[in-house]
Symmetry: C2
Subunit: 204 residues, 2 copies
Amino acid sequence: MSIAEKPILSMRQQICETVRAEVFAGQMTNDQPVREQPLAERFGVSRGSVRDALLQLSQEGVLVYSPNRGVRVSSPPSDTEFRLYAKLRKEIEGHCLDVCMDQLTEEDDRNLTNLLATLEDSCRRGDLSKITETDLAMHRYWVSRASTELESVWLSITVRMLIAYTLLEDYMQCYQEHAAIVEAIVRRDLKTAKRAMNENIRYK
Amino acid sequence: MSIAEKPILSMRQQICETVRAEVFAGQMTNDQPVREQPLAERFGVSRGSVRDALLQLSQEGVLVYSPNRGVRVSSPPSDTEFRLYAKLRKEIEGHCLDVCMDQLTEEDDRNLTNLLATLEDSCRRGDLSKITETDLAMHRYWVSRASTELESVWLSITVRMLIAYTLLEDYMQCYQEHAAIVEAIVRRDLKTAKRAMNENIRYK
DNA sequence: CAACTTCGAATTGTTAACAATCAGACAATA
DNA sequence: TATTGTCTGATTGTTAACAATTCGAAGTTG
């Protein structure tokens, strides 16, 4: 994404992105409360903005909220729920590929290729939190290109799956799978792209 | 639900429920902004609580939020998105019936039967906003019994479908369909309940 | 007359102080 | 000992004032 069109994220969005990434990086253990005051000091803002962000992350499913008791990191879903989420994700992402495939530009191709390069690097280094972040960003890319409405639904499903992201057995396989998706997208080969995407979103 | 266990809704939840119902009742036209101050005065609270509620409704998909410009009622989804939402809803509600069928109590049966009676009355009177409200409450019932996590995902999908709820062709058919679902549930007949539910969640 | 600039009212964004609530420690009691 | 009640510090919930931003209505200029 070029600098000129980089959107200026609101304070709330910044906090959301940061905290969400840290949850996926495992830097926040579940069942341990996430306090407002420390986060406010860290970001140099007041509790109000932090509250907004934590509320949004609760709606997303990254955190769970208890009245008068604050928020904590969500627990992983059960196996049956995980499988349901995987199924829903496949249908949403398949729909999004249908919609956006024809309207992708060469810049989109470049952005996806760059994300793929970042993913490859992260996989080689074995940087799990960066892998998760980039994986999320790639899938999010074609979803957001199709529909911002769907993006919100998709995110709330996907974050619940990622809470369960403990360990990959094979980093390079993760890269290979995404390479196959991106390659098919760049060729505008819808059928192959969808098949590759379906294989990547696996049951546990 | 007995009085003893009726949960005391937080201010935010109260505002959410009320505004959401009014959006579905068509009392708020889309593309017209929803202002914070009037709502705050109406509920007798400060803007902060209203902000929280509007933010939550934006996450849900009932409202759309623009930075520095407030929120407005969402626009109906496209036909293809509507069909996708319907598909996702069927899978979620089917899963929820699977999960909760065995653990429903006689009190649940009574609650569902009461909701059905309310729906019948609303359909006879042709009170569209009440029909929508009760319809939502019934489906929500078995979803919430299965999983509060899924309830949140389900709601964000379902509200987007209901934004498109303009007119039913036949009120009593709506009642009949729900009667079939509840009857099967009370008999703990999973297969019939799921089939009836699938028929009720129709494409446009 | 069309395009641009400036200004101000309306609205949202942010903050800090205050109120309400909760969890845990500790003491009193049967 | 197990239970209950009470206190206290920590945390969230709410509020009202202030800051920043938007948008439209004027006015200005070519």
